[in-house]
């Protein structure tokens, strides 16, 4: 196990959390920091989906590489 593994795991978990948050905004179940208190918030959902992608990319960068 190399030192970068915990970071990769943390970023992977963060990515999953962001996906859940994105889904909650998309279905209108989450209303935190939104301009209206009802309905879906696609702008927030897209943002958290992008953050999820960035987290997974980061996790892949942080994952231990095998020598080729």
């Amino acid at each position: 196990m190399t030192r970068s593994s915990p970071l990769a795991v943390a970023l992977g978990v963060l990515g999953v959390v962001f996906i859940v948050v994105a889904a909650l905004y998309a279905v209108g179940a989450l209303q935190i920091a939104t301009s209206s208190a009802t309905g879906p918030h696609y702008k927030h959902a897209i943002l958290f989906a992008v953050l999820a992608v960035a987290s997974f990319v980061g996790a892949n960068f942080a994952r231990p590489k095998t020598a080729t």
Partner: protein, 293 residues
């Protein structure tokens, strides 16, 4: 009824497209100029937001056309590096720098943009921030001249001086994130998005032309994304899509021409003329607004 006449829509398209990429704040101009011209259209009209969306999509399209081959390489580089988990080429690094630079702007944009814009959407405030933007541009150049002085480049020509600084691919990830976050200052009408990102690039050690290139590449996903998420508003009844599309095309043409001009200008030019323009235009606007001329 449309909030704008066709002539006003075309004028606003030209103004937005021309001023979006120049470091002079398109939002500031969009707030100040209609007030100075005593135009009485309602910016609160439901069809005004789709109008702004189309203008921004016009500008984003111009940037995509300008950098079309580079964007193809950047997107390919992004997926290659993301899947491999390693950056091996300059293009792959640039793709990741753009991702890192875009995220802070997107987060701040989604959570703060509408609140900040509604707080400061007054022509007086916009004129005041335009003056501040001018001093900011001059400040960036003062710091840059100090860096040139430390590197004893004073005796060299401008092109030789510029050659000592780096390209967009060489900026650090921290600097890319900070430059990206600086885009949030552009929510203040009068503060220029391209101005703060070009200035940030200069502070990070980029050549002027490369700072402008990084600024334009960084702006593309933000402008495009902000436009696309507002697209559903275009399909509401009462939106004069034909007139607004004509204005968007004009905005795109103006943005393309201004980007080409700026990339050429920044091979040896500096931000100073735009700084002086902003100070002069801001002070003149304040005087005109105050005396209701």
């Amino acid at each position: 009824m449309a909030p704008l006449t066709l002539a006003q829509a075309l004028f606003m398209g030209l103004l937005q497209g021309a001023s979006e990429l120049f470091p002079v704040s398109s939002l500031g101009h969009a707030v100040i100029v209609p007030s100075l011209l005593h135009w009485s259209f309602k910016q609160s009209d439901p069809s005004f937001v789709p109008f702004l969306v189309l203008l921004h999509l016009g500008t984003a399209t111009a940037l995509l056309v300008l950098y079309r081959s580079e964007w193809v390489a950047i997107i390919r580089g992004f997926f290659t590096a993301a899947i491999r988990g390693q950056m091996k080429t300059d293009t792959e690094r640039l793709a990741m720098l753009l991702l890192v630079g875009t995220i802070p702007a997107a987060v701040l944009g989604v959570f703060l943009e509408s609140r900040i814009k509604s707080l400061f959407a007054s022509p007086y405030v916009a004129a005041g921030f335009l003056v501040a933007n001018g001093f900011l541009m001059l400040g960036f150049e003062i710091l840059r001249r100090r860096a040139e002085g430390r590197a004893t480049l004073a005796s060299e020509s401008r092109r030789e001086q510029e050659a000592h600084f780096g390209s967009a691919e060489q900026i650090s990830f921290l600097a890319a994130a900070i430059v990206g976050a600086c885009q949030a200052f552009a929510f203040l009408p009068g503060i220029s998005r391209s101005g703060v990102t070009i200035g940030g690039g200069l502070l990070a050690g980029l050549r002027h032309e490369e700072a402008a290139r990084f600024s334009f590449l960084l702006a593309t996903p933000v402008i495009l994304g902000a436009g696309l998420v507002e697209m559903p508003g275009l399909f509401q009844g009462g939106v004069p899509v034909g007139e607004y599309l004509a204005a968007a095309v004009l905005a795109g043409i103006a943005a393309y021409a201004s980007a080409r001009f700026l990339l050429r200008y920044f091979r040896s030019g500096r931000l100073d003329p735009y700084g002086w323009y902003c100070i002069t235009a801001g002070l003149a606007s304040l005087a005109l607004l105050h005396f209701s001329l």
